[in-house]
């Protein structure tokens, strides 16, 4: 019995204990920094945790706290939703050996398309209109990602450069569309803002009032499942992984390598486009030019994907972590006597950075582990990407 338990532990340790252990370590070190700045890490963390709304799930949370917790949990999940999708936009090309920094641009492309379709066609029935708006966003994201893919497949243009450039083109382009006197500016003459989404194109609310959690979360979860199945259970996914690991061998095996590049960047872009649609059809309902450049959803998606090791479950957890951090470190959650409001925002960013850093370095513990067992503790290999993929 004991042997079996040990064997299980040995087998599962790398997958289960390491992330948990390093997350803990991350929080400990983050706490040290908080303490260094003269604050109590314990209460800071309690505030952050409660700020995420996850205390809603704890049985001992009092009922008046529960309302507030519910609000926060809704907001956490509202952010988690697009993060899961923009992370997928990174993960899928990553499996194909490419590094898509362009999630942000693809997300913006999705926003634009969702607004154009979602603010017109008021007469349509909800399912039709909603589907059209989502599809348009996915297509726009796919097109934006596909450009980078096509450039790589045809002239070998490095996707890191092209996606960075496409991000800014999308951002400034969208600002142009909705700016004062811009071609898609909404009805208010002196507000640089788009049209409103008509009610027939809004994602249904599922929990809460005012800015409730919307059905986009199911869309994102479904996308995770799609991703999982696509990568692990389909011929397409098999081919993508083969290209990612070894494009030479894939070509030898008869796999169309160039097509895989285009397809994965396009599908990734579609995920990011859907993220844009979720935000705009789920809770924003319009876009103001100022918001376009400020949004970081696509960029954070990169970290989410890598932290989640490009696996569906990992992405879900990492997105929740990031969503929780963003909401948990919001000013609502932090006591101004502990975190002066002028500094709270930056302290929150520092804590987020530390957590990414330490969770990213899972191998910190692998190190200790390997001292005892030289083999077996390696995390599953992922293809090498970024400037690596030629």
């Amino acid at each position: 019995m004991r042997d079996r338990a040990t064997a299980w532990l040995t087998a599962k340790s790398p997958a289960v204990l390491l992330p948990v252990g390093t997350t803990l370590l991350a929080f400990v070190i983050g706490g040290l920094v908080v303490a260094l700045t003269g604050h109590n890490p314990g209460s800071a963390y309690r505030a952050i945790f409660n700020g995420t709304g996850l205390n809603y799930l704890l049985p001992w949370t009092s009922s008046e706290d529960k309302d507030f917790a519910a609000l926060n949990l809704q907001q956490t999940l509202i952010i988690t939703t697009p993060l899961m999708l923009t992370a997928l936009a990174v993960a899928l090309p990553y499996r194909c050996g490419m590094f898509n920094i362009g999630g942000q641009g693809q997300y913006v492309a999705g926003i634009v398309a969702a607004i154009v379709v979602g603010s017109h066609g008021a007469g349509l029935s909800k399912p039709v209109h909603l589907t059209l708006a989502l599809a348009a966003a996915a297509l726009a994201g796919a097109a934006w990602g596909g450009i980078a893919g096509a450039m790589k497949a045809t002239v070998g243009a490095h996707e890191v450069i092209s996606t960075i450039m496409l991000n800014w083109i999308a951002i400034y382009g969208a600002q142009y569309l909705f700016e004062l006197n811009g071609p898609l500016q909404g009805p208010l003459p002196d507000v640089p803002q788009s049209d409103e989404i008509t009610s027939s194109a809004k994602l249904p609310a599922v929990w809460g009032v005012l800015q409730p959690l919307h059905a986009g979360i199911f869309l994102a979860l479904a996308a995770l499942v799609v991703y999982y199945v696509l990568i692990n259970r389909t011929v397409f996914g098999y081919e993508v992984r083969a290209v990612g690991y070894n494009a030479d061998a894939a070509g030898y095996g008869g796999i169309p390598v160039a097509r895989s590049y285009v397809a994965t960047l396009a599908i990734g872009g579609a995920f990011a486009g859907l993220a844009g649609a979720c935000d705009v059809l789920g809770w924003e309902f319009h876009i103001v030019t100022n918001d376009i450049a400020v949004s970081q959803i696509g960029f954070i998606g990169i970290a989410v994907a890598l932290l989640g090791r490009n696996s569906a479950i990992g992405i879900a957890l990492a997105a929740l972590l990031f969503g929780g951090l963003q909401v948990g470190t919001s000013a609502r959650a932090l006591d101004p006597t502990v975190f002066p409001p002028q500094l709270a925002g930056n302290l929150a960013v520092i804590i987020q950075g530390l957590i990414i850093l330490f969770i990213g370095a899972q191998l910190l513990l692998v190190y200790a582990w390997r001292a005892r067992r030289r083999r077996g503790a390696e995390p599953p290999p992922v293809p090498r990407v970024d400037p690596t993929a030629a």
């Binding site: 070998g156 450039m165 083109i169 987020q352 850093l357 910190l364 970024d386």
Partner: protein, 394 residues
């Protein structure tokens, strides 16, 4: 043997001819000549395009695309310019444009040189942005604290090295995913500099007058028309980046240490087997990269604007990273990419007042031009073979 024999023959030569003809068409339309007949650039443009196509059909792809690009862009620009009055043309194309090109290119160039060192040694550095931001803040902080810009720059370099050390420890020894670590660096830099900025300087920001990096004026050159407006008086840090550029090139490609750095980035095990200390070199290069990127940030704050603002680098580190790849991990290539980007940024600025186009639309210009250049001119780039891969000894 006549002079004709020395002209490059065949498709190459024709493509080069096309480029020259296209540029001549443009030059004729610009001050001081300003030929006002649309036929001139059109004819020359067509001739250039013909050369380009001739070359393209004879398998001279790269130069052919160059020539085609020049033909189209130069002709379009020349015709557009002809429709404009004298003054609006000279508003756009003047020595200020080239000076602005250098100003925009300089922080990118520092960042890109840093990126080259890091990636040549096999460590991907997506944290350039954060390192630049760190340098921007600590450059100001050091200058204010000491009263001397030089000390400010030293402080910036130290801060950059320290941040880079974090990147180095995590990606070299702990073998974390280098992209995750870089992302974390970017977060940390925003948080730390923002926190310190507000904590130290409050709401009015950094002091209004700080000791700033001097400009070097070259009296002889200053008075030369054209060139004088560009190079006559340049910030010291711009001259430094020129020097660093040459030094980096020599170091990487002409010295033993450069050979070793490149070997570590290409094939760390091979380097290890001849006794090169892989980890030490990687540490040194990553930290050097932090130092250089921090200088780029410090150029923005101490060198150029004389103040710090939260997140004032706004993505320049990413552009620098793109320049590294664009330039195929070579200093001159990357610098060329920085210049291209700087030129396009300066051009977009200047077009605002004359073009009557939305400033937002114009703001896409540098990115669009980079994309076009990427497709047309650069093509495939091969990174150092071990870039991004942690090295495991034994």
């Amino acid at each position: 043997m006549t002079a004709l024999d020395r002209i490059p023959r065949g498709a190459r030569g024709v493509a080069i001819l096309g480029i020259v003809v296209g540029l001549v068409g443009l030059e004729l339309a610009l001050p001081p000549l300003q030929v006002q007949a649309a036929a001139v650039p059109v004819v020359l443009g067509l001739a250039a395009a013909a050369c380009a196509i001739w070359a393209l059909t004879r398998e001279e792809r790269k130069l052919g695309i160059w020539a085609l690009l020049v033909a189209v862009v130069a002709t379009a620009f020349a015709i557009w310019v002809q429709g404009k009055s004298d003054t609006s043309t000279s508003l756009v194309v003047n020595s200020g444009l080239f000076a602005a090109t250098l100003v925009y290119a300089t922080p990118l160039a520092y960042g890109a040189l840093g990126g080259i060192f890091c990636e040549r040694a096999g460590v991907v550095n997506i944290g350039l942005e954060g390192m630049m931001l760190t340098g921007a803040f600590f450059g100001i902080w050091g200058t204010v604290w000491s009263g001397h810009w030089a000390i400010g720059l030293v402080v910036a370099m130290l801060a950059g090295a320290l941040v880079a050390l974090v990147h180095a420890v995590f990606s070299i020894h702990l073998r974390a995913d280098q992209i995750v670590t870089g992302t974390a660096i970017n977060f940390l830099a925003v948080g730390v500099t923002g926190y310190a900025f507000i904590d130290i300087y409050g709401s009015n920001g950094t002091p209004p007058s700080i000791d700033s990096v001097p400009s070097i004026t070259l009296p002889g050159i200053e008075s030369i028309p054209g060139i004088g407006g560009v190079f006559g008086s340049l910030n010291l840090m711009i001259w430094v980046v020129f020097v660093l550029l040459v030094v980096t090139h020599l170091l990487l490609f002409r010295t033993p240490i450069g050979l070793r750095i490149r070997s570590v980035g290409e094939h760390p095990r091979a380097a290890d087997t001849v006794g090169i200390p892989v980890y030490r070199i990687r540490y040194a290069c990553v930290m050097l990269s932090g130092v250089l990127a921090a200088l780029g940030g410090a150029y923005l704050s101490v060198g150029f604007v004389g103040s710090f603002g939260q997140n004032m680098t706004v993505g320049r580190g990413f552009i620098a990273l793109a320049a590294v790849i664009f330039g195929k991990w070579r200093p001159y290539g990357a610098f060329g990419a920085c210049l291209l980007f700087g030129f396009a940024s300066g051009l977009a600025d200047r077009l605002q007042s004359v073009a009557g186009v939305s400033p937002n639309l114009l703001a896409t210009l540098p990115y669009v031009l980079t994309l076009i250049a990427l497709v047309g001119l650069v093509g495939r780039s091969r990174p150092p073979a071990a870039d991004g891969q942690p090295y495991v000894k034994g």
